[in-house]
């Protein structure tokens, strides 16, 4: 696969062997993509995020909902595993146990305070049951010998923020995927029809695209999300919100597909297909689409973070996903309270992870866009 291995990137006079000229489109795109370091790093991070989302039940030590709460450690600070304390060092990482205490010095109120006792970290302990690929499992990556360990602390319900974060990554990716797929199908049908038929069909569909594009989406999302009856289950809400994101997010993509179709429509191969009696749908699907699949993939990757961000915003104001389902927006719902801002700053730990997720998508998208553009190549 080392098509470009001989050529240093700075060298303008790139030497290429025979395989370059016979390589397929995707091989070429991958080779161009590979040479951009930021994009490759972003891709690695993105894959790591996806794996985190998929294997969230295995990676998280506790259930991310009320069932996994630690009632004795509410609003608890992060417990970072350590190797050394006042009593010396150990090879196994450990945390200190906590105890509930009430006495004259605390004004007879219950407080949670750390003790000197060590609680060693164990790997692959058995914990709560979960289903993975249809198998019932109860092994998790890590835990402690006795009681709970909260790497990122706990929230006001005593739920483990680390476990919630891992699950919310999975949820955000799932919402984004469904949203992008729906908007992709809509964009394909509407943009494809506008570009292929032209004339009055094009005029009407373009007016539609302009209209959808002119309406500020978030207020519209809010208006539509308000339909969701309170008694809907978390899963129903989840699918409804993902559908909404897809139903309102297609206009930009549709315009781009229209432009592509418009540019390719008068090519000879389309005329040949028409003369052979192919139907419009067949020509669009079999002949026109494959000619710009790579561009569509790029557009999908680029529009992905917008879906994730819209979902976050909606959930944050309480119109999106609701509690048993975790997402960044859900987790941030209560952080504007002053006592949280002052005392429980670990509520904000998920924020940098989500910035990382969005940035990874943006960099991969940018890298793909440059790689898919045949003119970006050094001559």
């Amino acid at each position: 696969m080392a098509l470009f291995s001989k050529a240093p990137a700075a060298d303008k006079d790139v030497e290429r062997d025979e395989s370059y000229y016979t390589a397929g489109q995707y091989t070429l795109i991958w080779e161009r993509f590979r040479r951009k370091r930021s994009a490759v790093v972003a891709l690695a991070i993105l894959i790591a995020f996806i794996l985190c989302g998929v294997f969230a039940p295995f990676l998280s030590p506790y259930e991310p909902n009320a069932a996994g709460r630690n009632a004795d450690y509410v609003n608890g600070a992060p417990q970072i595993p350590q190797f050394c304390d006042a009593a010396g060092c150990s090879i196994r990482p450990f945390i200190h146990k906590v105890e509930r205490y009430r006495g004259a010095d605390t004004n007879f109120r219950w407080v949670t305070r750390p003790t000197e006792e060590r609680n060693y970290v164990v790997f692959f302990p058995s914990g709560w049951d979960y289903k993975f690929l249809g198998l019932s499992m109860d092994r998790h990556l890590f835990g402690v010998e006795d009681g709970f360990m909260h790497v990122f602390g706990t929230d006001s319900g005593g739920k483990d923020i680390f476990s919630r974060l891992l699950h919310s990554i999975g949820v955000s990716l799932a919402v984004g995927t469904i949203g992008v797929l729906i908007s992709f199908v809509l964009a394909l049908v509407i943009g494809g029809a506008a570009g292929y038929f032209g004339g009055w069909v094009d005029t009407i569909l373009q007016a539609l695209m302009d209209t959808v594009k002119a309406v500020p989406t978030i207020p519209l999302f809010m208006a539509m999300a308000a339909f969701v009856p309170q008694e809907w289950s978390a899963e129903e809400r989840f699918f409804f919100i993902s559908m909404l994101l897809g139903l309102l997010g297609w206009s930009t993509l549709a315009r781009r597909i229209r432009t592509h179709v418009l540019a390719e429509r008068n090519a000879e191969y389309v005329l040949a297909a028409q003369l052979s009696g192919a139907s419009a749908a067949q020509i669009i699907r079999r002949h026109l689409l494959p000619s710009f699949t790579s561009y569509i993939i790029v557009d999908l990757v680029i529009s992905f973070p917008y879906m994730v961000l819209s979902e976050t915003a909606l959930s944050f104001i309480g119109l999106g996903l609701k509690d048993p389902v975790n997402s960044l927006g859900v987790m941030l719902q209560n952080v504007t309270r002053v006592d949280v801002l002052l005392n429980y700053q670990w509520y904000f730990i998920p924020v940098p992870f989500f910035i990382g997720l969005v940035l990874a998508f943006v960099f991969v998208g940018d890298g793909l866009r440059d790689a898919a553009d045949p003119y970006s190549e050094p001559k």
Partner: protein, 334 residues
């Protein structure tokens, strides 16, 4: 001249059609909300101890004209808005929506416009400078800034600002008015109070739009910079910033001016959420209230219509503006 008038007329009709379509979309959405205005109002009365029967609801529906077919109600709604600026009556409060949102909408539009101005005041010059210093440290730090603008949405930025200001200054910096002026009638002192607090929401609202627009300006100017007419100008002895400003920048700014409406759209998108975070009592928060808490569809529809109308009007104005000031377009008219 007549060609120009014809151009204005076509643009006007295009904008008008868009608004009609938008109104249809918004009206349909309002209809889809479960339950109608009459039920909602009477359900509210029900909580006040009044007994409500099915006949009462029917009578109220007839009074409000809700028994008429869908299309006719839409037509009534639209003509009221377009001809009389009458946005209807709020479902819950039984007051004219115009009266209810009047000055709040003005405040939000004001905030958004200032944010828009700030966006261009920063992004245009910085984008041009960055294009000229391509691949230097200034350019790369700018690129990181732009990516942050995308990855850190405005409301998260607002949250972070709140976090830091609470920790370091002991104040959350929320609200648009201090306690003393919240319910006071409009006066110069109230205005000054608002201005002393408004800078934060304005900066936060402008954040993403600035970051993205900066990248756009940079890309556009970069593209123009290598074209032959610039080389020709250089050959005639022009150089430095003067050259950059007179030739590539002026060409590059056309598409930028054209996208003003969409930047406004971006800012409006952030308005309700930033308003919720920073506890601003403007239209954005009102919309949130109308939808999340009370399902007041008349009010929500009116606000979305008002916001979209502003964007469409902006697009119309920038089209005309471009036609007047871009010599390539103007040539066809005069």
């Amino acid at each position: 001249m007549s060609a120009f008038l014809r151009y204005i007329t076509t643009r006007f009709f295009a904008a008008f059609t868009t608004m009609l379509l938008v109104s249809f979309l918004v009206f349909t959405l309002m209809e889809l909300v479960p339950g109608n205005c009459a039920e909602r109002f009477l359900a509210y009365k029900d909580t006040q101890g009044l007994k409500i029967t099915a006949e009462d609801i029917l009578a109220e529906e007839i009074r409000m004209g809700l028994d008429q077919p869908y299309v006719i109600r839409w037509a009534n709604w639209v003509t009221d808005i377009f001809l009389r600026f009458d946005l209807g009556e709020s479902c819950l409060w039984r007051v004219d929506v115009t009266q209810l949102i009047g000055d709040k909408l003005l405040i939000s539009l004001g905030l958004s416009f200032v944010a828009l101005l700030l966006t261009y005041a920063i992004s245009v010059p910085v984008g041009i400078i960055s294009a000229n210093l391509r691949d230097g440290w200034f350019d790369s730090s700018l690129r990181i800034f732009s990516y942050m603008g995308l990855a850190l949405p405005n409301f998260l930025l607002a949250l972070c600002v709140m976090l830091f200001s609470t920790i370091y200054f002991g104040e959350t910096m929320t609200g648009l008015f201090s306690d003393a002026y919240r319910d006071a009638p409009w006066s110069f002192a109230k205005f000054a109070d608002m201005m002393s607090r408004a800078w934060l929401p304005i900066v936060i609202l402008a954040w993403s739009a600035t970051a993205i627009q900066m990248q756009t300006v940079r890309a556009l100017v970069s593209d123009e910079k290598d074209k032959l007419y610039v080389t020709a100008a250089r050959a005639r002895g022009q150089s430095g910033w003067g050259l950059l400003w007179r030739y590539p920048s002026r060409h590059a700014l056309g598409p930028v001016i054209n996208s003003v409406g969409y930047d406004l759209n971006r800012i409006f998108n952030d308005l309700p959420i930033v308003a919720a975070v920073l506890v601003l009592t403007d239209a954005g928060a009102l919309l949130l209230d109308a939808l999340a808490k009370s399902n007041d569809q008349q009010l929500a529809g009116a606000i979305i219509m008002a916001l979209t109308a502003t964007i469409v009007i902006f697009n119309f104005v920038t089209d005309i503006f471009l036609a007047l000031f871009d010599p390539r377009v103007r040539k066809g008219f005069f």
